[in-house]
Amino acid sequence: MTGFWRRHSIHGITGLLLLPAILCFFGLFFYPMLLTIVLSFRPEGQAVGWTLENYTRFLASPDGRWVILLTFILAVGSTALSVLLSVPLALTLREKIRGHRFYRLMVIVPLVVPGLIGALGLLLFWGTRGWFNLFLTQFVPFLPSPLRVNYTIHGLILFYVWLYFPYTCVTTMSALESLDQSIEEAGAVVGANRWQVLRYIVLPLITPGILAGSVLTFMAAFGAFSVPLIAGGDYRPLAVEIYKEISIPIPARWSAASAIAIVMGILQVAFLAMYMRIVRRAGGNAGAVR
């Protein structure tokens, strides 16, 4: 122990310089986190006492379990769709087609547009009287009624994909970029056609990149707040549920909200750990791309 402190001792000016950072870290990260944990075990509205009721009430109720399931459905669905969208898109944009630079830029637009604005735009576009349905009713005969997209679960997944697929797409594109062209050439020379090169060489080699990117999409979708808040309707994933607990009831139910937040955090960390293990296994063999 003393050895550790001697080796890592912070002395004099270094310690002084580090102090603001350390204070910030404790003040902005540790303290709120600790407070949330403590609150989640307090009986609602009380400053003393310990209880598990906040957790049991949430986890035991059908509503609570539905919220967790819904959050997973939204995150998994949008991640899967993002991958299905990203791979062909990245493959297309790799070819030096006319304006590929512009299209590449367009891919990251959703990342720079604030989620709220993006969601509002999407609501307007997909609404029963939005452009999408205007187009449908104009050009598709025998359409009984406008398609409902807004405030449905598939609509919400669509919005998520729009907002969060750039993470997957950008990493897929960079994985493709770093692929050694001569490896593909080698495949073609020994007799593999384009499809076979894609299937046996390109896809296995970029899979680690795709997975790494999709975990970002998944995490963003899992923690999504503003989009489901304004575009989710009755579909409230975990983040919205937490917000609901502190914004609707009077007085606000801080302990219930804290318990849900802790559940959400644990799920997120557990999922991330599981995912990283899968990614590492998938990437194990392709990791040494020259």
């Binding site: 001569s182 073609a188 020379v189 020994v190 007799g191």
Partner: protein
């Protein structure tokens, strides 16, 4: 059956105004190992890529075993290729790498296993079937590349600077190994390199390329002994050049005056006194003799300027006559020091008409 296995017919390829292949015509015979040799940018890689189908020539035809393949897709050309950076599939074991061409051709599992085993035996890597490429040394990786290129018995083996990513000692070893494998299989091979030593050691014939064109084509001996231009002479081996004018022609011999020296050399066809010629002599073809040596034909006084010890030989820089610097490589057993006066004997001098350049 025609004797030609690979034929370039007037192949032209331009890149944004730059001519990479300028009406290149070249025939590689069945069972021959031909080297395309040249400095970078000479068009040898472009020629290779036209042959693999990675790029399409702007004009001209490419024939493989008598069949016009100019419009045929890469994967249908039945080629085997070894790459400079090995280009192994990093996510596959050695077995799967070598078996890949067979898998693509829907060969049955048992037949595949036998052929893979055969190919690995050919390159002496039987014990490494379950290894991944990254677990192998550079030389081993290149041998896997060779096995993968040969496993489906292609008509033609292409080698794109296969040794330039290996260290010097391994390079020499692999050079013999490639030569041996190619000879044993009797396969037609096209070897692209910028390394003249490799070209001389490996090839049945060497094609020297310069600025997108074929500069000279011949056996290694022909290329080294009778280079047809200054470019070839400079590229293959070391050379000394002297510009001069023909003083007189007497039958098979002519006398050339260069830098105040009178040099006797075999005469050139249709040469007359007054013509400009370029004389050329290899550093190891000049003998260094003691200063007391009596004057004779093609014996000239010189002074040693600089010496470099190269182990088995000494490398001399000498000053000859009116400020002409010469490079000579001679046996290291008799040494001459810097500043020493010596005589040089040129038993053999070759020449070209100078306007030919």
């Amino acid at each position: 059956m025609s004797d030609a296995m690979i034929e370039f017919r007037e192949v032209t390829k331009r890149y944004a105004g730059l001519v990479a292949n300028d009406r290149l015509s070249l025939t590689i015979r069945r069972g021959e190992l031909m080297t395309l040799l040249g400095p970078s940018g000479c068009g040898k890689t472009t020629a290779l890529r036209c042959l693999t189908g990675t790029i399409r020539p702007d004009a001209g035809r490419i024939l493989l075993d008598g069949r016009d393949v100019t419009e045929v897709a890469t994967h249908q050309r039945e080629l085997g290729m070894v790459f400079q950076n090995f280009a192994l599939f990093p996510h596959m074991t050695v077995r799967d790498n070598v078996g890949f061409p067979l898998m693509i051709r829907n060969l049955r599992k048992e037949a595949r296993a036998t052929r893979v085993q055969e190919a690995l035996r050919l390159v002496r890597l039987e014990g490494y079937a379950e290894h991944y490429p990254r677990q192998l040394s550079g030389g081993q990786q290149q041998r896997v590349g060779l096995a993968r290129a040969l496993v489906y018995r292609p008509k033609v083996l292409l080698l794109d600077e296969p040794l330039s990513n290996l260290d010097a000692k391994l390079r020499e070893e692999m050079r013999f190994e490639i030569k041996e494998v190619v000879t044993r299989l009797g396969i037609t091979a096209m070897y692209v390199t910028h390394d003249q030593a490799e070209a001389l050691a490996l090839s049945d014939r060497v094609a020297i390329m310069n600025r997108g064109r074929l500069q000279q084509l011949g056996t290694p001996e022909e290329i080294y002994e009778t280079p047809n231009s200054r470019f070839v002479a400079e590229f293959i081996g070391l050379s000394n050049f002297l510009e001069g004018r023909v003083a007189s022609v007497r039958g098979a011999t002519m006398t050339v005056t260069a830098s105040g020296l009178s040099i006797h050399t075999p005469s050139l066809p249709e040469v007359a006194p007054g013509h400009k010629v370029l004389l050329f002599v290899r550093p190891n073809e000049i003998e260094i003799l003691p200063a007391a040596t009596p004057a004779d034909t093609n014996v000239f006084p010189a002074r040693v300027e600089k010496t470099t010890y190269l182990g088995d030989t000494m490398d001399y820089r000498l000053m000859l006559g009116e400020g002409v610097e010469l490079r000579v490589q001679a046996d290291a057993r008799h040494r001459y020091g810097a500043g020493e006066s010596v005589r040089l004997r040129w038993p053999r001098v070759r020449s070209w008409r100078a306007n030919e350049e």
